[in-house]
Amino acid sequence: MRSIPTALLGALLAVPALAQGTPVHDTLTGVKARGHLVCGVSGGVAGFSMPDGQGHWHGLDVDFCRALAAAIFDDPEKVRFIPQSSAARFTALQSGEIDVLARNTTWTLSRDTAAMNFPVITFFDGQGFLVRKSLNVTQVKQLDRATICLQQGTTTELNTADWFRTRGLSYQVVTFANSEQTLGAYESGRCDAYSTDKSSLYGERLKTAHPEEHVILDEAISKEPFAPGVRQGDDAWRDLVAWTHYAMVDAEEAGIGQANVDEQRQKTLSPDVKRLLGLEGRYGRGLGLTDDWAYRIVHHVGNYGDAFSRNLGEATPLKIPRGLNALWTRGGLQYGPPIR
C-alpha cells in the first residue's frame, strides 16, 4: 500500500492517491513488495503495546510483530503499527488495511468462524480479581456476597455471572463505562473486588494510590487465550505467523536467547539448535523465507522468554508471573512443535 505522494490539494479534491496494493490472497508477497509489515495493535495496553516518549513502540504484541518483520526482512524496524479500536479491528484486518492483528484479542469460536483465523496463542490470560490484602481473600469462592466492580459491555460480566451462579454463590455487580471509573470505584471502597483480564489487573494495580495494599488472586475464572489474527484463506501467511511464535518458544526451550544466539550459532553441536538456526536443513523455504529466519527472530527480538521478561516480567513494573505462559517443561502451556 505504498502511496505515490499526491499534493494535499489534489487529495482535497477527492482525487485518490493511487498506489500499487496488496493482492489479498497472498499476504507475504504483498508484504515483501511493500517493504514493511503493517501490524494492528491496541495502542495503549501496558506491557502489550505502548509507545515510549519518543514514539517507539514496545510490548509483547509489538515484539511479536517485530519478530515477524525480522523473519521476513532481517530488520525488526520494518513494521508499522496502527492502533486499532476494538470496534474497528476485525474490519481493518478484512479490508487489508493491516496484515496481522496483534491486539490482545481473545480467540473464540465465533470470531474464528466469522471473521478471521487465529494461528497460535501467544499469551494465555484469564479473568482475575484484584482485592485488598486486608480482606485476607486467597480464593475467588471466598468472594461470596461480595460487591464486584466491572467494566460495562465486556464478557467479564457474563463470566462472573456464570461462575458465581454455577457455584451457588451470591454477588453484586457494579458496572462502569471505562476502566478509570471502575478502578476509582474500587479504590473508593464501593466494591470489594475489581475484575478484568489478569494481564490488565497488574497495570491497573499500579494506578492505585497504594499498589502494595492490593493483591491479584492466582485463580482465573475464564479462559482468555490471546492470539494474533490473520485473514482467512491465506494458509502460507497463517503458517508464518504461527511459526514465528513457535520459533521463539523453541528457542527458549533450547536455551537460545538474544544474548547467546550468535555464540551458539558458532559452536553448537545440537542438531535441534542447528535446525532452528538454519545451519542444517532447508526449513525456511517452506515458509517462503530464508533458512536463517528463526535466527533472525532470536537475534533481533529474542526468544519468548526474552520478550516476556522485557515487557511483562519481573524486570518491569508490571511483574506479571509466567504462570500458564511458562514453557511446557516448567509447568506452563507454551509448547512449540519441532522444527524439522
Binding site: P5, L12, A14, G55, A87, E97
Partner: protein, 378 residues
C-alpha cells in the same frame, strides 16, 4: 413680596461616587440587591472552585521526575497534584507521534509555516494579503504535504503518514478542514442560491447529505468501509481518507452559515450594483459577499471551533491524533500514578482551550474592527 435668602445653605453631601475603582464596583457589581446577591454567589463559587484547581495544577504539581514514582504522595512526601513530569517525559510523542526523531525539524518547520501564514492572514494591515491568501489556500497545503510526507523532488526522506501523530496530526486535520471548508462552503452556498436548477439541486443534495450523516459515520466509512469497496490494488492513504471526509463534512456546515449571511443582505444591494453596471459576478464579489461574510463571522468561527474539537473523533478510526497519543502514553506502567489520568486530561483541556480561545478572541477582534468601519462611514 419677595424673599431674599441672607444666609448660605449648608453644603449638601457630594453625589455618590461614580468614578474610580470604588465607583465602578458600586455601579457594576453592587447596584441593587439582585446584582449584589449574584456577585456574592459568583464570588463564593470562585472561592470554592479556584483554590483546588490552582492547588492541583500549580502548587501541588510535580514538575520533574524520572518515573511515575515521583508523582506518588509517599515518595514526594506531600499531597500530589498534576504530574507534569509525565507530560515532560512524553512531550516528544505527544507533539510528533512516531515521526522519526531525526526528521522532527520538518514538523517544526511546518508549525512555523502555519504560525507565519496565520499571522499574515490575521494581521489585517499586513502587506500583500491577497498573496497571503493565495499562499494559505493553495501553495501552503501543497508545500506542507511535501514537507511532512517527504518527496524525492525536495530531497526529503519519505515519512509514512502512519508515523505522524499527536498535535501534528490534530493540527493537520483541523487545518485541512478549515482551509478546505471556507472556499468550498462559499462555493456551495452560492451554488445553492443559483438560478441554474441542476447546480442548485446538486448543491442542496450535497449539503443535505453531509449534514445528515454523523461525522463518526463518515470517518468509519472512509477508514474502514472504503477499502472494502475499492478494487484490491487501489488504496488511498489512511490519513488522507478521513481528511477528505472531514473537509467535505465541514464545508457543508460552512455553506449553510454563509447562506445565512447571503440571505441577510437585502436584495436591493445586488440590484443596485447591477443597475450601476456591474456584472452579476462583480456584484456578488464586490457588494454582496463582503457584507454577507461580515455578518456571519461569529457563525464561521463557531463552525471552525466546532471542527477543531470534532477532529478528536479521528482517534476512533485509528489515527494517532492528540487525544489518541495521550491515551496511549498513559498506558506506560513506568508512569502509572494516581493523578496521571487527571494530568493527561488537564493537559488536553489546556491545549484545546488555548487554541479555541485564541480563535474566539481573533473573531471578536475582527468583529469590533468591522463594526468600527461601519460607524466611521455613517
Amino acid at each position: 413680596m419677595s424673599v431674599v435668602r441672607e444666609t448660605l445653605l449648608p453644603p449638601a453631601p457630594p453625589p455618590r461616587r461614580t468614578g474610580g475603582a470604588l465607583g465602578w464596583l458600586r455601579q457594576n457589581l453592587f447596584s441593587g440587591p439582585g446584582n449584589t446577591l449574584t456577585t456574592l454567589a459568583i464570588l463564593a463559587a470562585l472561592a470554592l472552585l479556584l483554590p483546588p484547581v490552582v492547588r492541583f495544577l500549580v502548587t501541588d504539581a510535580v514538575w520533574s521526575g524520572a518515573s511515575g514514582e515521583a508523582c506518588r504522595p509517599e515518595v514526594a512526601g506531600r499531597p500530589v497534584g498534576a504530574c507534569w513530569a509525565f507530560i515532560g517525559a512524553k512531550i516528544n510523542y505527544l507533539v510528533y507521534g512516531s515521526y522519526p526523531a531525526a526528521e522532527r525539524w520538518r514538523p517544526n518547520l511546518f508549525f512555523a509555516l502555519v504560525a507565519a501564514s496565520a499571522a499574515w492572514m490575521l494581521w489585517l494591515d499586513a502587506p500583500r494579503r491577497g498573496l497571503g491568501a493565495l499562499f494559505v489556500f493553495l501553495a501552503g497545503p501543497v508545500l506542507s504535504y511535501g514537507l511532512l510526507s517527504g518527496s524525492s523532488v525536495l530531497g526529503l526522506v519519505p515519512v509514512a503518514t502512519s508515523l505522524w501523530g499527536g498535535m501534528l496530526v490534530t493540527l493537520v486535520v483541523s487545518l485541512v478542514g478549515i482551509v478546505a471548508a471556507l472556499p468550498l462552503g462559499i462555493l456551495l452556498a452560492l451554488g445553492r442560491r443559483s438560478d441554474l436548477p441542476i447546480l442548485r439541486y446538486a448543491c442542496i443534495g450535497f449539503i443535505e447529505f453531509w449534514r445528515g450523516v454523523p461525522l463518526i459515520t463518515v470517518l468509519f466509512m472512509a477508514n474502514v468501509m472504503l477499502p472494502l469497496f475499492l478494487p484490491g490494488d487501489i488504496t488511498v492513504d489512511r490519513l488522507v481518507r478521513p481528511l477528505v471526509g472531514i473537509a467535505l463534512f465541514a464545508s457543508a456546515y460552512m455553506a449553510e452559515v454563509v447562506r445565512g449571511g447571503l440571505q441577510a443582505i437585502p436584495e436591493g444591494q445586488g440590484r443596485a450594483a447591477l443597475a450601476l453596471g456591474l456584472t452579476r459576478a462583480q456584484a456578488m464579489r464586490l457588494i454582496v459577499l463582503p457584507q454577507a461574510l461580515k455578518v456571519v463571522v461569529p457563525g464561521i468561527v463557531n463552525t471552525l471551533i466546532g471542527l477543531f474539537k470534532d477532529t478528536t473523533l479521528v482517534s476512533i478510526v485509528g489515527i494517532a491524533d492528540f487525544i489518541r497519543v495521550l491515551e496511549a502514553a498513559r498506558a506506560d506502567p513506568r508512569w502509572s500514578a494516581p493523578t496521571i489520568p487527571a494530568t493527561a486530561y488537564a493537559f488536553a483541556a489546556l491545549f484545546y482551550l488555548a487554541f479555541c480561545f485564541s480563535m474566539a478572541r481573533y473573531a471578536g477582534f475582527v468583529e469590533r474592527r468591522l463594526a468600527a468601519g461601519e460607524r466611521g462611514r455613517s
